[in-house]
């Protein structure tokens, strides 16, 4: 409603919704430039070896082809690995496109054909002839498990497994009841709707304006500057809209490298867009093997937790994620041991994908907890409650807040959990078996350094900016809402800008920390503007606020009002006019309160309850009902928050039942590289999903009290579904996805 201020927590429509549905929102491949050239990537067909011959003559002969870039004619590039590292790079030596003749994975770019039109580039690319001297490759995690080794840390945010506590193996051996099982999950690709693309505009002065699909413009800027030896101020990166990323835009992908290289060589503007098939030629969620062993007393008290994991990585980088650590912090248990290793394969380096690590670790842990509940003849929820912990035993710290108990209670009540019949195969509907399962979820609540700028004009319009991104999460909306609420302005008068390196810097959008980090900066910068306005309002001749202090006024309806007598008010415009301030501007950078935060473990939690129906003869599983109860601190924007959880649950359904990138290990190549064969849920797979946000107050995580919701919604969903499938059928499937053949 115009004129009405929006409060933090309200559920408002996406501020960018209209631009998106009317096609006005422009994505990286939609920006035009004069004389724009188009690049088409030629990909390697083998997994390992050397390029023997690379014949570009037929391609170059096509009219309209301007250049074919290969390792043989590429310009000089940075020498040191350091120059190729980005904010999300793991330890190792980052991949360098077109660097030399070595082939390190199937699908690797080996040439870029640049032409005047996309069609010519595509056609000419099909004429590039490459032959290889192949070497033997290994792409099968199962075959390399024995050779797994300790991972090198070095990736930002990665925590190696904690030291063991107690003696888990001994406690396990002695435990009255135990389960010990291995769980497997396949490689999965992010597959956002928008393909990765970059449009590089070569400016007359040689500077580059780069429209990139990225989750962090600064990351692209730094990478491009370092690799191509440019000054950061010659490289402006812009990314106003991102058509989904899920982690795939956390690292600069090879299309940005190739587009910049071509623009530099040709001194022309160049666009490179990947095909859907090529979307399967960079990062993905790693295939992972896990073992979880749990020991408990006959009453269901956990005595031992052992969690081991092996994830695949490339030969050149150690992709790492936190898979096993969660198991020692989610439940009370005095004996815990963890192990996490990586196995090198001839593949590209994996990459963070929504709730990296946690989504896998919790799948295994929460499946094992379910197995334990049956071994104990105990209700799965009761087992979790019996082992509830108020302290993180990994670090021996309290939680900054933890309303997981409320998640269990409210989720179970809404779901009707108490009506569950405990025995598998006991619930039926016609020829369908009905199963109810549940699982817990957890994710970290993090905050990073971030900066924001705010400009308030005399006409009452506020423009706030920060170089963050909106990968569909609702950043535009949440930030607009925070800013509007602080200055008491209607949403329509507030504009939030993001995705531009000329804005104050923000961290990569990942880890569920954007609202916590950028939101805090936006809050701070708007409060600074508010203070300026207040000073002007006080100073006005005859101001009714002359005697008031800042905490005695409220900002609403474009006015500064005395809280105890709102009729006593000064309009923002009048105050600025009187103070001869046509604009008020502030820029602030905010840091987490590290000292205070370090005293606590900060995490979001969830409880997921699932109903499945399984066709007994044909093995088909339908997820008919999901209740997801989330403890995520304060909810900033109710509608986009709910959307985050809904989307995450849908993805959880996919992870449990459908998603899998299938590799042909003889060829070392992912084969189902299109969206007809790489299955994600369709509408018909998605039924009732209910989202509950339990109230949770937290003054430690950040001044907003918001913990972030990007990842938590998917954690636990796959386990809850797998557990429901077991309850329905009595079959425990320990390798994802649970396709129907596994239930026949």
């Amino acid at each position: 409603m115009r004129g009405e201020a929006t409060r933090i927590g309200d559920g408002i429509n996406r501020v960018d919704g209209r631009a998106k549905v009317t096609g006005q929102a422009k994505y990286a491949a939609e920006f035009e430039a004069e004389g724009l050239l188009h690049g088409w990537v030629v990909s390697s067909g083998v997994a390992k070896g050397k390029i023997a011959t690379l014949d570009t003559s037929a391609a170059l002969a096509v009219e309209g082809v301007v250049h074919v870039l290969t390792h043989e004619n590429r310009p000089r590039l940075a020498w040191f690995d350091k120059s190729y590292r980005d904010e999300d790079a793991p330890a190792g030596s980052p991949f360098r496109p077109l660097y030399d003749d070595a082939i390190v994975y199937s699908g690797q770019p080996v040439a870029l054909v640049v032409a005047t039109t996309l069609e010519i580039a595509r056609h000419a690319a099909s004429l590039v002839r490459v032959t290889y001297k192949t070497e033997e490759h290994e792409t099968d995690l199962a075959a390399r498990r024995e050779k797994a080794r300790k991972a090198r840390p070095g990736k930002g945010g990665y925590e190696p497994p904690p030291k063991p506590r107690g003696n888990a193996d001994e406690a396990l051996a002695k435990a009255a009841v135990k389960v010990d099982a291995a769980y497997e999950s396949p490689a999965e690709h992010h597959n956002p709707m928008e393909m990765h693309a970059t449009t590089v505009v070569h400016e007359p002065d040689g500077a580059l304006t780069i429209y990139d699909k990225t989750q962090g413009v600064t990351n692209t800027q730094t990478y491009v500057s370092n690799v191509f030896g440019l000054k950061p101020d010659q490289v402006r990166v812009i990314s106003p809209f991102v058509g989904g990323a899920f982690g795939s835009g956390l690292r600069p992908q090879y299309q940005v490298f190739l587009a910049v290289m071509a623009a530099q060589v040709l001194k022309r503007s160049v666009r490179v867009t990947l095909t859907r098939q090529q979307m399967f030629t960079f990062g993905y969620r790693p295939a992972t093997w896990q073992r979880v062993a749990l020991g408990a007393t006959a009453e269901g008290k956990l005595e031992a937790v052992v969690h081991e994991a092996i994830g695949e990585t490339s030969r050149f980088e150690d992709y790492v994620e936190v898979v096993v650590n969660w198991s020692g912090l989610l439940y009370q248990c005095d004996n815990a041991r963890y192990d996490y290793k990586v196995a090198e394969l001839d593949v590209y380096t994996p990459l963070d994908m929504r709730a990296p690590g946690a989504v896998l670790g919790l799948y295994a842990l929460e499946s094992a907890m379910d197995e334990l509940s049956y071994a104990l003849h105990m209700d799965p929820l009761a087992l979790r409650l019996a082992n509830y912990t108020e302290r993180d035993q990994n670090t021996d710290k309290p939680f900054s807040s933890k309303e997981l108990r409320a998640c269990y209670a409210q989720g179970a009540a809404r779901f009707g959990w108490e009506k569950r019949l405990p025995t598998p195969r006991a619930m039926r509907e016609g020829n369908k078996l009905v199963g109810w399962g549940m699982a817990t979820g957890i994710w970290e609540a993090m905050q990073q350094k971030a900066a924001a700028r705010a400009v308030l004009s005399i006409d009452g319009k506020l423009v706030v900016g920060s170089g963050t991104s909106d990968i569909g999460t609702g950043t535009y909306t949440a930030m607009t809402q925070i800013a509007a609420s602080i200055l008491g302005l209607p949403i329509a008068d507030v504009t939030f800008k993001l995705g531009d390196t000329t804005l104050p810097p923000a961290p990569l959008q990942g880890g569920s920390w954007t609202v916590a980090s950028v939101g805090t900066a936006v809050k701070a910068v708007c409060e600074a503007v508010r203070e300026q306005v207040f000073k002007l309002a006080k100073k006005m001749k005859g101001s009714p606020l002359a005697q008031a202090s800042l905490d005695e006024v409220i900002f609403a309806g474009g006015e500064v009002r005395l809280a105890r007598d709102p009729a006593q008010a000064v309009s923002i415009a009048a105050a600025m006019r009187a103070g001869e301030a046509f604009t008020l501007e502030e820029e602030t950078s905010t840091l987490p309160q590290l000292q205070e935060q370090a005293k606590y473990t900060r995490a979001t939690h969830s409880a997921v309850f699932v109903e499945v129906k399984v066709d007994e003869d044909l093995g088909k599983v339908e997820v008919t009902r999901v209740v997801s109860a989330i403890a995520g601190g304060r909810i900033v924007s109710a509608k986009t928050a709910r959307s985050q959880i809904l989307g995450a649950v849908v993805w959880g359904i996919g992870m449990a039942l459908e998603e899998e990138t299938l590799m042909d290990h003889d060829l070392g190549r992912f084969m189902n590289h299109n969206l007809a064969e790489y299955h994600v849920p369709v509408n018909a797979d998605v039924r009732d999903i209910e989202v509950i946000f339990v109230p949770e107050e937290d003054e430690v995580v950040n001044p907003l009290g918001a913990k972030g919701l990007g990842e938590i919604g998917i954690v636990g969903v796959a386990a809850a579904i797998a557990n429901a499938v077991f309850h329905a059928t009595g079959k425990r499937v320990r390798d994802l996805p649970i396709t129907l053949d596994k239930l026949l």
Partner: protein, 331 residues
């Protein structure tokens, strides 16, 4: 994608003679399969003959009480055609279980018949494939073969035909009208698609330049008792792992005639008349259906990832026949 020329044909004769003139000339109808294959460099026509203007858009009743469906009738129009819904609900259901609403709006009857396999290797020019490059090998036999055939495959190719509509047409014993070099001819449905043998590059018995003009359905006898059961990896928008078109004609308490066609299991919609005949004159019963299922699958052979289709197909057959007899299609 290679370069090609494009022309629109206005008459059937022109289309056929244009196709005859150039070896790599190809008809394009809805384009939903062909264009994808061109983008991946799998299909490399040098000339596209757009047949969408040809007067093959009608659904008409034939003199014998059947139905003639023009080759350019879209999958959506055909599925929702009142005569099809009333007399051939099997066909209607089969079509609607395929692809997505958008694709069905574009896809045509002729194009659906001639859509190509969904074998991953066939689609990826970086890999060998006998169907795409004769003699290059068949990596599916030892590779990713979850979607592949369990019946009628050869050592050269184990691909399946992906169409749902064709499974229903096989059960209904449709006839395909073709115009080619020697004029018009009628091809019984069972003779349209072929098994891979040692020529997997050939999906059908059609000759270069042949244009499908129509599909003819004999009078509908199974409207009361038919079902199309499609088993797939998600609730919609996925190709069949196994599908069953079952149609039964009952006389009193016994089965007068039964038709069972399988999809997702072979290089063509699979039928076995000897197996179907087992039901003739019998009362409908699960045991009888099981017997047919066993007979239909007796020569089945599984590979690393698709062995489950043997059990699945049998169960699906029993389920489908049961539904057909009772006249209740589940979903």
């Amino acid at each position: 994608m290679n370069r090609f020329t494009y022309a629109r044909a206005e008459q059937v004769g022109d289309a056929v003679s244009a196709a005859m003139q150039r070896r790599a000339a190809t008809f394009i109808a809805g384009g939903t399969n062909l264009v994808d294959l061109m983008k991946e460099n799998v299909a490399r026509p040098d000339h596209l003959i757009d047949i969408n203007r040809l007067p093959l858009q009608q659904v008409e009743e034939t003199e014998d009480g059947g139905l003639r469906v023009g080759a350019l009738v879209t999958n959506a129009d055909l599925a929702y055609h009142p005569l099809v819904e009333a007399r051939y609900p099997l066909l209607s259901r089969a079509i609607l279980s395929g692809a997505s609403a958008q694709l069905r709006n574009m896809a045509t009857t002729g194009g659906n018949l001639l859509q190509r396999t969904r074998c991953f290797y066939f689609y990826d020019t970086a890999t060998p494939c006998n169907k795409r490059e004769p003699g290059s090998g068949c990596p599916a036999i030892t590779g990713q073969n979850r979607n592949h055939a369990i019946l009628g495959a050869s050592e050269h190719c184990i691909a399946t035909h992906p169409s749902d509509m064709c499974v229903a047409l096989a059960a209904l014993e449709a006839v395909v009208r073709v115009t080619g070099k020697g004029g018009e001819r009628r091809v019984p449905f069972a003779e349209l698609h072929r098994l891979p043998g040692d020529m997997p590059e050939r999906d059908t018995t059609l000759e270069p330049g042949d244009l499908i003009t129509a599909v003819e359905l004999p009078p509908g006898r199974f409207a009361e008792h038919c079902t199309y059961l499609k088993v797939r990896d998600r609730a919609s928008y996925a190709f069949a792992l196994v599908s069953v078109a079952a149609a039964v004609e009952l006389a009193g308490g016994t089965i007068k005639e039964a038709r069972v066609a399988l999809g997702g299991v072979a290089h063509k919609p699979w039928r076995d008349r000897t197996a179907e005949a087992l039901l003739r004159g019998k009362a409908a019963s699960t045991e009888a259906f099981q017997e047919v299922a066993e007979a239909l699958l007796q020569d089945a052979q599984g590979y690393r990832h698709n062995g489950f289709k043997m059990a699945l197909a049998k169960r699906a057959i029993v389920r489908a026949l049961g539904e057909a007899v009772s006249g209740r299609q589940a979903s």
